[in-house]
Symmetry: C2
Subunit: 263 residues, 2 copies
């Protein structure tokens, strides 16, 4: 004669437990019971339940569904429009996430702008070790995550620097130095070379990279992080950083941090 809870559930495509849950939350009116205490549902319950499910599946929280089902026509229509907008936004979000995901596995994991990809390719061609190119790439990923705005400009500038023969030799020297013992005296020479190159470059009027926006305590957070990144990658590089910081005036240090950060 009337539907049992299981029949109602099957017909509406929900679980028995869900229906009882809706009763508990006051979403669906408790129906009359038969002689043995079973719930017995009529057509109204079917319609109510379908409304509840349609709203719930659209992502409307049950609390709001409860308010909606006894709202007036106007309020209901307005709410539906709003929910539809939310759905639309959600769809766009998911589509964006799909793109991010494919980026995540397409080669360099996260979106690296074309300039950076070019840069990495050029380094490989120059003969830089895979290991160093990997550290470099990770650095750019980090930079892109923290200060996406500056990535393109910095990459363009580093590409330009790579036109300079001396910078290329310097870069290769650093690459080879990665496996030196931190106590090796050649690291001090290398640090001096780096400092000289930076000084020459500044005096030639070539600007360093633009400052990073989140610059707070004189030394930017990004620089700190990147320095730490390279220091972690190799003990020799860590030593190289220490030598540079120790042996330079503050003015020169800025120049050095260019190299370090960019390296």
């Amino acid at each position: 004669m009337l539907l049992t809870i299981g029949q109602l559930a099957r017909h509406c495509g929900v679980s028995v437990r869900a229906i009882r849950h809706y009763h508990q939350r006051g979403l669906l009116a408790e129906p009359a019971r038969d002689a043995s205490g079973y719930r017995r549902y009529g057509a109204q319950a079917v319609m109510d339940l379908i409304r509840i499910r349609t709203l719930a599946e659209a992502g409307v929280p049950l609390a709001q569904v409860a308010r909606l089902i006894d709202a007036d026509q106007q309020g209901f229509a307005a709410a539906i429009t709003e929910i539809d907008d939310a759905l639309h936004r959600q769809i766009s979000d998911l589509q964006r996430r799909r793109r991010q995901l494919t980026d995540l596995m397409a080669g360099d994991r996260l979106v690296l702008p074309a300039e950076v990809a070019d840069l990495l390719a050029e380094l490989r061609e120059l003969g830089v070790s895979d290991w160093s190119v990997g550290v470099e790439r990770d650095g750019w990923i980090l930079l892109a995550a923290l200060s996406p705005d500056v990535v393109q400009a910095w990459a363009a500038e580093k590409l330009a620097a790579l036109r300079d023969t001396e910078f290329r030799r310097l870069y290769l020297a650093c690459d080879e130095a990665r496996s030196l013992d931190p106590a090796d005296p050649r690291l001090a020479e290398l640090a001096a070379w780096m400092a000289r190159w930076a000084a020459d470059r500044r005096s030639a009027g070539v600007g360093g990279p633009q400052p990073v926006p989140d610059d707070t305590a004189g030394v930017s957070l990004v620089e700190t992080l990147m320095t730490a990144q390279f220091a972690e990658a190799s003990p020799a590089w860590r030593r190289l950083g220490e030598l540079s910081r120790a042996g330079l005036t503050p003015a020169a240090r800025v120049g050095l941090s260019d190299i370090q950060t960019q390296r």
Copy 2:
């Protein structure tokens, strides 16, 4: 020198609580602490966290993220493909739900198959009272819940019957009879008319509806159900049913039950 948990959180667009949660679940390695017990994060943590978020925002459960972040290239790629498929399905689902939402505003379409919705629309156009259309709709909803297979055929047949001018007049008469006193003599006349129409129709060779599969005791469960549904809706209709059953041979009764059920 290194990032505090709050700085890391802000830079990666997550909450501090979420980061601690990832530590607890083993997703993100616990970093070293400083002298006062604060966590201090390096560049690796930033990259790890970005990976975690990218996956989590794509809807990957954290438990799976944990497995993914230390999976090999192949497994990772396969998993990403799968996740992307899931995202695609999710998008389609959301789009379907948007359509359902608009249907929800539109009326009966969501709750009943198209044929029945058409039927109800035709009844309204014919001038049948909202109240009777409501009873009719409720009957179809229960029928759909109990015997979904027969709904389409029955609805099509009833739509066909509505082409018959006499049936239309009969239907309207029943509609008007709903508020009569159960003792009113006009109910007997109406019952006789119904019986005559059914007999004519049978002799004209127009088949009744297909039997319902759960037909068990001669009179189908569904018929009983529908009869009860209409009897409950109005005392006059209940009386109409009684009159019909009383005054007819078993053979004719089948014809009547057609009308009653279909009514």
